[in-house]
Symmetry: C2
Subunit: 761 residues, 2 copies
């Protein structure tokens, strides 16, 4: 994922991301990218990024066009939104079920096969089978990723987050990405990597929503007419928010947690109406999952047993705590926060290294994946040999040693009546390992030394696995390491604390999650829905609060970090402190290209060819007004449609009615798919005129040039703008001083212009 | 509450609301209030409303002043916010406990006394005792409300909602209001009215937060120096959001529901940081309540038994449903939505009538309360006589007839071994009645005729009770009527549906809540936390979805309706449709008063005296600039502080340094407490000059006059502004065309200017 999107890739681009913000960067490009390259050395090229138009243009003609094209009443439109939410919920739920069944069956088969050889004491053969299966699965995942959809690598949550902020990264929501995300994730998780399928589920949900929103994929010939009602970025954004929430709901069976995740972490803007629709989507997911579990409980799903869909029951542990427990929990939170932020730091370093490696091509990517897979296999198979065989406890409900695919008390190399505690953690799916760690009333089941070994291995493997070319979620590695760490602390505090080690384990997971992801309420609710126990809520909150605070002292949350690393121009909710000392005028750079109200075709074509700007100011001049006057903003996409329609005139005259007549034919909504090269304008037409008034957005947001940059940034961010005019303060000057886009608010740009400004992190 | 805030009241106003937006309304006042009076005939005078400054001025001197005054570091400031959240949580939780114990004990004592006479068959005496207790309690509540704090009447949620939208209604968060809200609510609920303590709890939480935010009350001599750090409206808003969430959490024991309530219903703006702090507050409340319940469970709280803090356990009912059940539930939702919107309609009519009655004075208010109290007593005591005595069922876990204060199977007039089902509903606290209605596996306990009578009585009493001069929540009446209606439907569908009638009852309550309040996610989560059963979630969501949709077809949610009725200038999230056809210039009215950068003291004093404007544009003119140029916006409060400081000069010169020197002395944060009358400016000083540059906000938000009004409204709303400049499009005109405030966006104002615009509801 870290070396996609070079210019050469543009031709394979999906319909929606062809017109790049690419060269938008004006003459400043060189300067800016110098700085960018220092900060975002990862190959995510600026060319692959496009800003989204969340602002609906205020313009009679465009509105009329949308209205005609939509051909449905407001009621139907609203109904359709709900239908879409329903479809998103259903399909995300089904994908969640499918990938759960697939993972459990593939991994289960692999583990069964390994165990057979183990039981025959053919340990080398067992390793070869185990490592071979892992390798095969890993290679398939890597091949899918490297050749079909490089954007499907990684978690996907940072990209979805950036999309909802208004940045469309290269083919991040394309159908190929969806395909690879689903199957790559299944292979990757089944291959025994320390990765989860939760992040990919969020990305999957968003992809499904995006596909629905754009009415299928034109590239693959999968388009449905009746789906094409949401052609604007704003409606698409809402759908994708629903999709992200559905993904979390499907991953954790947490409908309320999903909504809160979308609200707290994913979305940059939120409306009350969206809250409800999102909740509806996640509820549909919850219902689908429930039906599926009932279906599978009668043994219809192969090896899919009680594992799979994670749901940890810690209700057996009595939640009673006193002062020393609270102290232990506080310590747990502090160390968890520190380890979490260290995790972020190391992931960042590893990602930077991998991005350089991955840039060398698909083959190198696959080799890297195979290397990590081998390393993982060696760890999982080799480390359990370090553990001593432990005699089975007398009174346990499950059999010991266990003969199931999942479960505690794995026998491994041990004699009958004994079990290997490390093998119960390593030679299991990640979900089952977490379940074992969170199990209550089993304080002595794992040795402290085993826990230490497992913690070290998982912490290390989690860090080096993220960033290789497979779909890889971050939730599970963090929960895995965190719950192991929590159990470790629990064992250490056993003499003084009355809390169950299973509970400590949960709190450890919470502290790690808080330390890396820095979400709070949504994590709290997700953990609540996972464990179904309201009584631990106060402790979980305490731990999350502490670990998040600790982590925030050192670095940003892992998703924010990845967004930054990828060079995506993410608009933060709060302006940087130094922006208070600058004014809007200070960051305006480069010459401004403006059009007249009725402009020569040749000028427009030239401007479209020579710049990558997506918005141009239109200025009325005599005879259309007394003095130069700002008329509005035209978008590149609308200009292209207008030029393609060829409504030109020999003289400089208004042509509103002419355009209004051809409005259905023109189809402004399609503008995003057009390029300058698609235009076929003859030489004599270049000297003709075209009236831009009908397509100009007559109410663009603008700030006075002396407006503090911080306040301009707040305006830009809160209203979800793509272009913002800067207008002069004093009179007698041209009516527009410049245009600000999201790039102009990026620290890299501002610090490039004013290197003396001290950049506090 | 509906006749407070006449001009005469201003003198008793609390420190924070002295400078009214009152006369701000410019010459247009007469015109506007004509229209307003048609729409908002309720006595809530426009004079009692003040807009809040959520925008932090960008201005060196004011910032410097705040910094010096604050005298604490950023870290301490952040820490303090958390400490405040803790205090809000603690105190709201404690108030919740106190009012619960008080209500349960008072009401319990009353019911015990009545029962004693009943058992002696002295039915008339029993009625006199019962009605007398009710009357006394009602009269005390009414007296508190009428004489001490008229603002404490009603639910309080609409006012809190308006405050968080930027409108400070008259003394709505004053200490007297808090006092009356707590004690009035206890008396009102104990008096057997069909009212709840949930809405008042939200208001109470907000009042506590507001008091903390302004550092106590100056009027009552309760100020603490160390509390006075949050002197700006923005921080206060955040605290009050926490307070509102804490209120819901305390009322329903629903920490997550509280957060979502604040998010969905109360707050108009939301930040991620706030989410976490709000959650912390509600968690503190939850912990406090939990400790209290453990304390009370050993019988330390008098008559406070398992009643009081509502928590309904329906987990005994198995949630299995098939197609006919779903149909029944859909029907339930449809009818519930219709009845809910009818409820809103009737409440609106009754409120309008009451407001006319209440305007006649405190005595009339009390008479009205007494009348309603008598009516309620007659209903609760009289109607059970219509019910037939039912023989006790054979196998029940509780005793029958019941001898407890609360509980099912009340004996009333029945012979031993029989019970009166209507008495179990009427002669109980509202909480216990709801618990009886929601009880599971008791399908035959209530006769259909009894349910019909109770439903009719509660629906009717709920409508006529809201609006009288006592603190009265709307949640409980709606839940009461809804759960009765749900049980009724459940009984009717008994032959075809497998769902328990207790479950139907819950769904009925949900449908009524959805139909009146129109909240969705927060209600869903509150009901979830109340019943502690995740399995009913899909059904509850379905019902809420249907009933909200049905209700929205007819009218607005009840809180929005009350906000409108009170004439509070609430900014809606979405601009009205007709605003798209207007531009900013169209709604600018009246002459504009501007100041020069260095202005004559006399002019300023005159302007302050003659207008009620709270913001004035400052325009630089030669020699300070080449041409007239917009310098910024000065606030009335800052002007008053500057004039009081008397930093005048004989000549027209800049005085930045002079003001900077005296900055600590001036204390701009105190400006809100000042009035023009407080100034003591001598005749000769009137001709001197004062430099306004240092106090002008140099980065006011502005729109070009041709900006569509809809977009201007979005800007105004999203950024939480109080003043917005309208600047000219063409050159050669004064640099400011006008100022827009929230009043200019109100439909009443716009429709007053353009009566031909059709106002679609």
């Amino acid at each position: 994922m870290y070396n996609n999107g070079s210019i050469a890739d543009v031709e394979t681009d999906d319909i929606e991301s062809e017109v790049g913000e690419s060269i938008y960067s004006r003459p400043l490009l060189i300067k800016r990218s110098n700085i960018t390259s220092q900060i975002a050395i990862v190959g995510a090229n600026v060319c692959s990024v496009e800003s989204l138009d969340y602002e609906i243009p205020e313009n009679d003609l465009v509105n009329e066009d949308l209205r005609l094209r939509r051909k449905i009443q407001v009621f139907q439109y609203v109904l359709l939104k709900w239908v879409f939410a329903l479809i998103i919920g259903l399909s995300t739920g089904l994908v969640g079920i499918f990938s759960n069944i697939a993972v459990e069956n593939i991994a289960g088969f692999k583990l069964l096969l390994t165990r057979e050889f183990m039981q025959k004491h053919e340990y080398y053969k067992a390793f070869i089978v185990y490592a071979g299966c892992n390798l095969g699965l890993a290679a398939s995942a890597a091949a899918l990723c490297a050749f079909i959809a490089p954007s499907a690598a990684g978690s996907g949550i940072p990209e979805v987050k950036a999309y909802l902020n208004g940045v469309d990264a290269y083919s991040i929501l394309a159908p190929s990405t969806l395909f690879v995300k689903i199957f790559g994730s299944i292979c990757g998780v089944a291959a025994g990597f320390v990765v989860g399928k939760e992040g990919p589920m969020v990305h999957t949900g968003s992809c499904i929503a995006s596909l629905l929103g754009q009415g299928g994929s034109r590239k693959y010939g999968l388009t449905w007419r009746w789906l094409r009602y949401f052609k604007n970025d704003r409606d698409r954004r809402d759908l994708i928010t629903c999709g992200a929430a559905a993904g979390v709901a499907a991953a954790f069976r947490a409908p309320v947690g999903g909504v809160l995740f979308a609200l707290e972490e994913a979305a940059s803007w939120w409306r009350s109406a969206l809250l409800w629709r999102t909740f509806f989507t996640t509820a549909v997911v919850a219902i689908v999952l429930r039906g599926f579990i009932e279906f599978c409980s009668s043994g219809n799903c192969g090896l899919f047993g009680e594992g799979g869909l994670i749901m940890y029951d810690i209700s057996a542990a009595k939640v009673v705590y006193s002062a020393p427990d609270i102290l232990a929990v506080i310590l747990l939170g502090v160390i968890g926060g520190l380890l979490g932020s260290l995790y972020n730091y190391l992931v960042d370093k590893v990602l930077r290294t991998y991005s350089i490696i991955n840039e060398r091509g698909a083959a190198v990517k696959i080799v890297l994946v195979i290397t990590i897979s081998l390393l993982t296999s060696i760890c999982s198979y080799g480390l359990p040999w370090l553990a001593k065989c432990i005699p089975c406890p007398d009174q346990v409900s499950t059999s010991c040693p266990n003969t199931d695919v999942s479960g505690n008390y794995k026998s491994f190399q041990c004699p009958p009546g004994h079990y290997n505690d490390l093998a119960s953690l390593f030679l299991n799916t990640n979900d089952d390992a977490i379940r074992n760690l969170l199990s209550t009333n089993t304080a002595k089941e794992f040795h402290i030394s085993s826990l230490l070994i497992f913690f070290g291995a998982v912490y290390f493997l989690g860090i080096i696995t993220y960033g290789i070319a497979i779909p890889s979620g971050l939730f599970i590695p963090v929960i895995l390491a965190g719950s192991c760490y929590g159990r470790l602390i629990g064992r250490l505090f056993e003499p003084v604390s009355k809390l169950d080690v299973g509970l400590f384990s949960l709190l450890g997971a919470a502290s790690f999650l808080g330390g890396t992801m820095r979400m709070t309420v949504s994590l709290c609710v997700i953990l609540l829905e996972l464990t179904n126990d309201l009584l631990v809520l106060p402790l979980v909150m305490l731990v999350l609060l502490i670990s998040k605070t600790m982590g925030d002292m050192f670095n940003k949350g892992v998703y924010d970090q990845i967004v930054k690393l990828k060079g995506l121009p993410y608009m933060e909710a709060h302006p940087e402190h130094y922006m208070k000392n600058l004014v809007a005028r200070d960051v305006v750079t480069g010459p401004l290209i403006t059009f007249c109200g009725v402009e020569k075709v040749g000028n427009i074509v030239l401007a479209l060819r020579c710049t990558g700007h997506n918005g141009f100011p239109v200025v009325d001049e005599p005879p259309f007004s007394d003095a130069p006057e700002l008329c509005g903003l035209v978008l590149r996409s609308h200009l292209l449609v207008l030029l393609k329609g060829k409504i030109f005139s020999r003289d400089r005259v208004l042509a509103r009615n002419k355009i209004l007549h051809k409005i259905v034919e023109l189809d402004f909504a399609k503008g995003k798919g057009l390029k300058v090269e698609d235009l076929d304008i003859k030489e004599e037409e270049m000297d003709m005129y075209v009236d831009l008034h009908p397509i100009a957005n007559t109410s663009p947001y603008a700030v006075v040039e002396t407006m503090s940059l911080a306040k301009a940034a707040i305006l830009f961010r809160e209203l979800g703008l793509r272009h913002m005019f800067v207008i002069p303060k004093s009179q007698g000057r041209p009516p527009v001083v410049g245009i600000l886009t999201r790039h102009d608010f990026m620290p890299e740009h501002i610090l490039g212009l004013y290197p003396h400004i001290r950049y506090r992190k």
